[in-house]
Amino acid sequence: MSLLQEEREIILSNEYVDNFDFAEVEDFVKNASKELFISHHFKNKKKMLVQPRGGFPTYKKQFALNEFFVEANVDVLPLTIDSNTRLNDYATAKKMLRLSEENEIDMLNGYPLVNHGYRTTRKMITHFNKPVSLRHGTPDARLLIETAIASGIFEIEGGPITYLLPYSKNFPLDKAFLYWKYVEKICANYSKLNEPINRESFGPLTATLVPPAITIVIQIIEMMLSLEEGVKSFSVSFSQTGSMNQDIVMGAVIKKLARHYAQEINCADATINLVYHQWMGAFPTNKDYAEQLINMSTVIAAMVGADKIITKTREEASGIPTKEANAKTVANTQYTLGILNGLPNIVDKEEEEILTLEVHAIMEAVLNDPADTLWRKAFNSIKSGIIDVPFSPHIINHNEMITIRDAKKNIRIIKRGNVPIPDRCFEYEKAQCDLTKDTTSIVNDIIHDIGIMQ
């Protein structure tokens, strides 16, 4: 038995998991409907795929949510996992699931997939016969991903950096890298049986003034880590920045550079998709404005040429959206996409050049780290501040980089910390901003800039 298989046996013999039948699961994946694979839809699509967010504790409610979504013409169904499962606390998830089932109130903020098990969940997934995207936020997702694929979920979101730096204070980053390496291997192995399993990185990060260069570097690193293990279909992503021009520049550069770095590691045969998240920052409390903002996001997604868009709802500012609000936003987004035809092609050469130089400079510093593997290089780069995510709560992140918005609402770097932003680019970024102000005024600007959509 291979080492990987031994590891799998140990992970899947968890007391909260019903008996795992590897041969049966393999057989299921081999014969699964092509419709369940998002990679199949990416390959044959004629339009941008639309995917909402959403997850409920009980099977019954999750089923009802999916029915609503299908009614609203969804292209990709979501399955959001509860926060106990994210922390591998299956005992609490089990208890809360029972309470939810017995009392008709939701005691979990998502679907506890491990507790429901793959035999049950597969019935739902195959019933709707639409691709499902697993949304979670788990540093150690090994058991979760085994259960997801066995259930018929063939798109897995997350990664060692993007599911850690925005969500955790002190989960060990080196462990996250190793646990995700396992996930990539499992996805790669199952990909050989049918259509490829798609992996998707989580580009929004902290959703607060993250400069495009940092987002792109992290997207590329997670993509490379995944392709290295044999994954053949990968989605890079980012969220609306608040500047239409910066979004369009970012879309162009991320597409170009993702392909470039895939080639660098001889993985040009993999398919790279682009996913765009509607505004992820603080939402306006005025629901009409929220709808305008969402509509604007859809227009920008079309302009950046996204392969998939992930939607928000008009209720975002006031708590967890209802299934009706979620379904409505899917229908509205589909409508907007349907009337957006023949958009102009906008190119900002200077901005593209600056951003490209920044990404290359940071990537060069990461790849020049003397460590022997890419994950160790990335680990060292985060530790030394070569990669620095503004507003990350994690202790390993340097938080030396400071960003503000310029007059056109572009996110600009005004303090680079240890991030190797080339001098020329740094001067350009600063030149777009009014830096004659005292520090207190600049801090006030940052406070204002975070709430750009208010």
Partner: protein
């Protein structure tokens, strides 16, 4: 002057925490920022370790109330903290309540300055005035 700051409990909301650090630095304070997800003991340990004059706790998701109940008891276990200025700010309840009920409650917990859903600069201006008055 030295300030220890951080977000209390299992709260992971970091944006305001960073802004508090930046603002305090800009105002000339020496800042020891413990970041998010910080327990009360860690706050007091840091105050002792750094010899801080001010403890500024922040909270967004409402869990400060659960934690603050234990402050007096805990503080009494540490020596020489009588002159420590205790300040708290952010979103201080789960659900909604007005400042009139919240402020006395938190003062009773042992805080000198309490700010519920108040602009950061207003809070820090008040802190500076408070310090000026006290050092007269």
């Amino acid at each position: 002057m030295k300030v220890v700051t951080g977000v209390v409990g299992n709260d992971i909301h970091v944006v305001a925490n960073r802004l508090i650090e930046l603002s305090l630095n800009a105002r000339g304070f020496e800042v020891f920022n413990l970041g998010v997800n910080t327990y009360l003991e860690e706050f007091f340990d840091a105050v002792v370790e750094t010899g801080a004059d001010i403890l500024l706790i922040s909270s967004l998701n409402g869990e400060a109330e659960g934690w603050s109940r234990e402050i007096k008891l805990l503080k009494s276990k540490y020596k020489n903290l009588d002159n420590l200025v205790m300040m708290i700010g952010g979103n201080l309840v789960v659900g909604s309540a007005d400042a009139e009920t919240i402020i006395p409650k938190y003062k009773n917990y042992g805080f000198d300055l309490v700010f519920h859903q108040v602009d950061l600069n207003t809070g820090l201006d008040t802190l500076e005035e408070f310090l000026k008055e006290r050092n007269k």
